[in-house]
């Protein structure tokens, strides 16, 4: 720490910090446009000029490029500084069109604000302003108005330094300098929305928000991004009871203020006209609208009948990851206490072992990436599945100099920053791990890098056809690396919270292993044995052992890799009750459909991939008669004569704080008033009940059948797919690229494929990627009109008919 004097007040600031940041953190705001605390300074706008006393007298200096020295004396409000600020603002406004009334930034514009606070009253410019064509769409989501641009380079730097896809750049020079994209190359970044948020003027605007509202008629509430597992801080803004915008909030622990475009623009499903607003009951081929009383009565009657005829084990529940922890706790209570069945799972056969996820939660944090020497990513392509985590890893490798190792069947989005890119054929991961452990052959360098701690290992299933046991083995390996922290990653939003709340066949709320002897306070009367996971449930349903299926925000027909199994299961069961926001493929088969509230329509907590519990808040009312999951479940339990007695979501949260050991003491009050960035469970002084033991609870894909084809299948997800919440968001619905097959060029040439290939008889466009291991075919999962391939780990690939 050093002592500097700002406007006559001595303050203590960290040595070497930039003056503008040191001043802001100690209470003096220096106006600025180009400087951003998450990006390197460029000193372009010259708005942050201050006077610094130095050996050569008082010098006017940009504070964004000046590191603090001990004893520095700074004046930020002297007449010279004020004159300089007025001058810069007058210059910036010379060519800035004063179309503030129609500009989406108007009312929340740093240029407006600073003109008011630091600018001249009027311009002395009488000449014609610079003109460009008014907004030009530079991508499907972003519009560029070059007249408004003040050339601060925030977007340019973001795409170069942060997101690593430099698709927006300066062109020409001097007064003709403009920001633009390259010819025929749209700003097709997964992170383009961030540039809209950090643009200090209305030069970059989002087409989703264009002319939808003005800042003064927006209400806002702090919440958490409902579409990823990183727990990104967001501000949800709504007007006239409609959510209109998501903004990233700079949460130091998680997202640093960034959001991916799917999260930022994917809120439009909330106001989708397809939202379920009334309970539905099956009648003939379709559904008819019924009252809540009728729907719940029928559901309770059906479930009771199944329990009576076949025992409680014939009832199973799938889903719960889309809701809050409170919803999940209610579901777990309902299944284990009211119904008495341990057959429930929040994962849709696409996750990792619950013990792996729960026991490691709270052990490693995303923030460990800031100090890591080596980062190992042996998981799905982070850019596609965990975009914000991707940015943090990218930062670790690019700005902080960590050694980055990616292991994946193909080169991932991190390839350009990875020191070592290891690719392997799916199915041969265990061999690769053995060779890596031994450091043999060309893996010696990688092994040597992994011995340099601190190591952060991000572990997950590289693809849906990948053996889940591999991740367990990688975890066991990674935990023994020096100063290792392991982050197990799965994609589905609140999977971590749902599993922690006991929506898992082998866990009880608060990360307690099911089937053990340990009594669980408040759960004495419940069935605490180990039940079936999603695959087990679906198989049992198809075999007729499970008779009633409760789907909670789950669409097995699309989300479970083995769509065929899901279809057989849904056809075989007697009763399907669905709690959902939309009539999905699976919900359409339900006997009773109960409309649920979505995110931004209810309060509660969620848990991110590091075990951080965060508060989500309500800002709009739901459609029609939709109700929160917990309240539906509570009512259902009461009608079955086995009441749970939950009165409110907050009451459930208190029950969680009391009865879920790892969540001890985490209350809404704490999250609302003290820990706004969330709390990692368990809190200090609270013991984690579950210890990590490498086991494999999940079965490998296709383990039931023989290897069908000659090609190993890599079934990875893309950011934009055909999941219901993406499909229902108007802005992002069309961004899914559609299904295709990727082959190594050698393989493609060997089988003589050109243009198209047949993968297990499904004709798909062919793409070539030399980084994909030979003998592998990669197909993105759940794309519009995509083929159902998830039932097998190997497939047949043949040249497609025609060109």
């Amino acid at each position: 720490m050093v002592t500097i004097t700002i406007d006559g007040t001595e303050v203590q600031v960290p040595a070497g910090e930039l003056l503008i940041k040191a001043a802001e953190d100690s209470g003096t705001y220096i106006p600025r446009f180009c400087w951003h605390r998450r990006m390197n300074p460029v000193g372009m706008c010259r708005m942050c000029l201050v006077e610094v006393e130095g050996p050569r007298g008082i010098m006017l200096t940009p504070s964004c490029t000046m590191p603090v020295n001990d004893g520095m004396v700074v004046h930020t409000k002297s007449p010279t500084v004020e004159k300089a600020q007025e001058g810069v603002l007058e210059f910036l406004l010379l060519n800035h069109p004063l179309d503030c009334p129609v500009c989406d930034k108007g009312g929340e514009c740093p240029l407006q604000d600073q003109t008011l606070s630091h600018g001249p009253g009027e311009s002395r410019m009488v000449e014609e302003k610079r003109h460009y064509e008014k907004p030009i769409p530079i991508s499907d989501l972003v519009l560029l108005d070059r007249e408004r641009c003040i050339l601060c380079a925030r977007c340019v730097r973001f795409s170069e330094e942060i997101s690593g896809d430099p698709l927006i750049e300066f062109m020409d020079r001097g007064n003709a300098a403009e920001v633009n994209t390259f010819p025929d190359e749209p700003f097709a970044s997964y992170f383009s929305g961030n540039t809209v948020q950090i643009c200090p003027v209305g030069a970059l605007t989002a087409s989703a928000y264009r002319f939808r509202a003005r800042p003064w008629d927006l209400r806002e509430v702090a919440s958490v991004n409902p579409l990823t597992t990183t727990g990104d801080g967001v501000t949800v803004q709504a007007s006239q009871n409609e959510v209109l915008r998501f903004l990233g909030v700079d949460n130091d622990a998680t997202n640093h203020g960034w959001l991916d475009d799917r999260s930022r623009f994917g809120f439009e499903w909330i106001a989708s006209p397809d939202r379920l607003a009334t309970p539905l009951a099956k009648s003939g081929d379709g559904h008819t609208e019924v009252s809540w009383g009728e729907a719940l009565g029928a559901a309770a009657e059906n479930l009771s009948a199944v329990i009576e005829a076949h025992g409680p084990g014939a009832v199973a529940a799938i889903g719960g990851a889309r809701g809050t922890n409170e919803d999940a706790y209610a579901l777990a209570s309902f299944m284990r206490s009211s119904v008495g069945s341990p057959n429930l799972d929040a994962r849709l056969d696409d996750g990792l072992g619950t013990h792996l996820l729960s026991s490691l939660a709270g052990k490693g944090e995303i923030g460990d990436l800031e100090t890591a020497r080596t980062v190992l990513v042996w998981a799905a392509d982070l850019k596609e599945e965990h975009p914000v985590l991707y940015l943090r890893v990218r930062r670790a490798a690019q700005e902080l100099g960590a050694t980055l190792i990616t292991v994946h069947p193909t080169a991932t989005g991190l390839a350009d920053r990875a020191t070592h890119t290891v690719t392997y054929r799916p199915g041969e991961g265990h061999d690769l791990l053995d060779r890596l452990r031994a450091g043999s052959g060309d893996l010696a360098d990688v092994r040597a890098a992994l011995d340099e701690g601190p190591v952060v290992a991000i572990v997950g299933r590289t693809g849906l056809a990948e053996d889940p046991a591999l991740a367990e083995a990688v975890t066991a390996f990674a935990r023994d690396l020096p100063q290792a922290s392991v982050l197990p990653v799965v994609r589905r939003a609140n999977t971590y919270g749902a599993i922690d709340m006991g929506v898992a066949p082998d866990l009880l709320p608060g990360r307690v292993a099911a089937g053990g002897d340990a009594g669980h306070t408040g759960w004495e009367k419940a069935d605490t044995s180990v039940g079936l996971d999603t695959r087990g449930i679906l198989e049992a349903a198809a075999d007729g052992r499970v008779k009633a299926l409760l789907l909670v925000g789950a669409d097995p027909l699309r989300d479970v890799p083995d769509a065929d199994l899901a279809a057989r299961a849904l056809d075989a069961v007697d009763v399907v009750i669905s709690i959902d926001c939309f009539l999905t493929d699976s919900t359409a088969k339900a006997d009773i459909v109960l409309p649920a509230l979505g995110f931004t329509e209810k309060e509660g907590t969620v848990t991110n991939l590091e075990g951080r519990v965060m508060k989500v808040n309500r800002i709009v009312s739901g459609p029609g008669q939709a109700r929160a999951d917990w309240s539906i479940i509570d009512d259902l339990a009461a009608r079955m004569g086995r009441p749970l007695g939950f009165e409110s979501a907050e009451a459930i949260s208190l029950a969680i704080a009391e009865h879920a050991p790892a969540y001890g003491g985490i209350t809404w009050f704490l999250l609302d008033w003290k820990e706004r960035d969330g709390v990692v469970a368990p809190r200090d002084g609270v013991e984690q009940p579950l210890q990590y033991i490498p086991t494999t609870s999940l079965r490998a894909v296709g383990s039931g059948g023989a290897k069908r084809g000659g090609f190993a299948l890599h079934l990875g997800r893309l950011l934009y797919d055909d999941a219901v919440l993406t499909r229902q968001g108007a802005s992002i619905a069309d961004l899914a690229p559609g299904a295709y097959a990727v082959l190594n060029p050698t393989d493609a040439d060997r089988i003589g494929a050109n243009g198209h290939v047949e993968v297990d008889g499904h004709r798909l466009p062919l793409r070539r990627d030399a980084s994909l291991a030979e003998g592998t075919v990669a197909v993105p999962f759940n794309q519009p009109d995509g083929p159902p391939l998830g039932g097998s780990s190997h497939v047949d690939v043949a040249p497609g008919a025609g060109a």
Partner: protein, 435 residues
């Protein structure tokens, strides 16, 4: 007044001074051959002792610059041949007529700074000089003066010749480095990117002007004492001055510092065209404030004296204007140059220079208003805070503050001409309202 040192060879052999044969015949590459046997310290000390100052414009002693080179290696040497300031054409002469002197200088400078890869960055509009330099470099490679083990020793040195793409700002050393790296030619932030510490490819880098480098063979060949004996005791050596404008004999002249402006303009350059009166002259390139005969004609030409008078010798470009010159038009033309050449990074330079130009154009075309002189001064003040000399630099590079020199000189010495323009025309019309 006119001396022959650097220009001796090209004057004596006007047709083939650029060839390897002529260069060797006139004692070429002997200085380099001797230099590679010396240590870095000896070489840097010799250059320091010679007192040779940088000829790029800032006039920083070359030896001192070399001694600041950070210890990290690899280091690079970049020769700045991006000569594009209006009125400057001295490097062209050296590149075109005596390229081997520069190549030999590069060898000396490279050895002195432990550099194994040097770059020559030549202005894009100089195709002929670039061809000559390219040929000279190729010849030097063929003779074994460049490449692996130069002069049969164990020192490796590669030279790459690079042509710019026509941006004046790339004459600024950090913008030049960006341009060499393939980025936009924009000056870097200083701190932290001082070339001597973090230059080309973030390695320590020496950037020297063509003329500075071309001086080296003479310093090492003829000796420091000979070099210091050539001219002024402070501004040692000879200087190439490019004289253009309304003089009888415009051109490049090799002179020593210490002669007066009268001697230069009326003696060396043969006086004003058609016997007209001298009105003003730009003493050192477009960014230097103007001199006027009443105050400055009998002042000696030295770096210090020019600085004291609020201007600079810069790159040695003297633009002479006679009594018929419309000073507003002259200032407008200079400001327009800077407005067009601004890289666009800093707001005051990007917006301010263009605005100055627009105001001057308006004044020139009869749309001037009473308040425009004050406006010009205030806009200039916002670009170059305090309007002092040397300018207090508040922009990333000195281009912005340079651009106001002409405007300030105009208002300072020729305010009446601006007022005449303003009185002459019809007032400007704003939104249909006459004011």
């Amino acid at each position: 007044m006119i001396v022959e040192a650097l220009t001796r060879r090209m004057n004596a052999h006007p047709t083939d001074s650029h060839t390897m044969e002529r260069y060797l015949e006139t004692g070429g590459y002997e200085a380099a051959r001797g230099a590679i046997t010396k240590t870095r310290d000896e070489l840097v000390e010799t250059v320091k002792e010679s007192g040779v100052i940088g000829r790029g414009g800032a006039g920083f002693p070359a030896g001192l610059k070399w001694s600041f080179l950070a210890p990290a290696r690899p280091a690079y040497l970049v020769v700045n041949g991006d000569e594009s300031e209006p009125g400057t054409f001295k490097d062209r002469q050296l590149l075109e007529r005596d390229p081997h002197a520069m190549v030999e200088g590069i060898i000396i400078a490279a050895v002195a700074n432990e550099v194994h890869h040097a770059f020559v960055y030549i202005r894009g509009e100089y195709p002929k000089p670039a061809r000559r330099v390219q040929q000279a470099v190729a010849d030097a490679y063929a003779k074994g003066f460049l490449g692996k083990g130069i002069f049969g020793g164990d020192y490796d040195l590669d030279v790459t010749v690079h042509l710019g793409a026509g941006a004046y700002i790339c004459g600024e050393e950090t913008a030049l480095l960006n341009s060499l790296e393939g980025r936009r030619g924009e000056p870097r932030l200083k701190p932290p990117y001082f070339p001597a510490a973090k230059g080309l490819y973030m390695a320590p880098t020496i950037v020297n002007n063509v003329e500075t480098i071309s001086n080296l063979p003479y310093i090492f060949g003829e000796g420091v004492d000979w070099y210091k004996g050539l001219g002024h005791e402070v501004d040692t050596g000879t200087f190439l001055m490019s004289i253009s404008g309304h003089v009888n004999k415009p051109g490049n002249y090799e002179v020593v510092h210490g002669i007066t402006w009268r001697e230069l303009i009326y003696g060396v350059a043969g006086g004003i065209r058609d016997g007209k009166e001298l009105k003003a002259w730009v003493p050192g390139g477009a960014s230097a404030p103007w001199f006027v005969p009443e105050e400055h004609l009998d002042l000696p030409i030295t770096k210090d004296e020019t600085g004291k008078q609020g201007s600079m010798l810069g790159s040695g470009a003297v633009i002479v204007m006679d009594e018929d010159t419309d000073m507003v038009a002259a200032a407008e033309r200079l400001v327009r140059f800077f407005a067009e050449e601004s890289c666009g990074q800093c707001t005051p330079c990007r917006e301010g220079t263009t605005w100055l130009d627009l105001i001057l154009q308006r004044v020139l075309h009869g749309g001037g208003r009473e308040q425009d002189i004050d406006l010009l001064m205030d806009v200039s003040d916002n670009i170059s805070v305090g309007l002092g000399w040397p300018p207090k630099q508040t922009t990333i590079c000195p281009l912005g503050p340079s651009a106001v020199s002409a405007t300030l000189s105009l208002v300072k010495h020729f305010r009446h001409e601006v007022e005449e323009h303003i009185g002459r025309g019809t007032p400007v019309t704003i939104s249909g309202v006459s004011s």
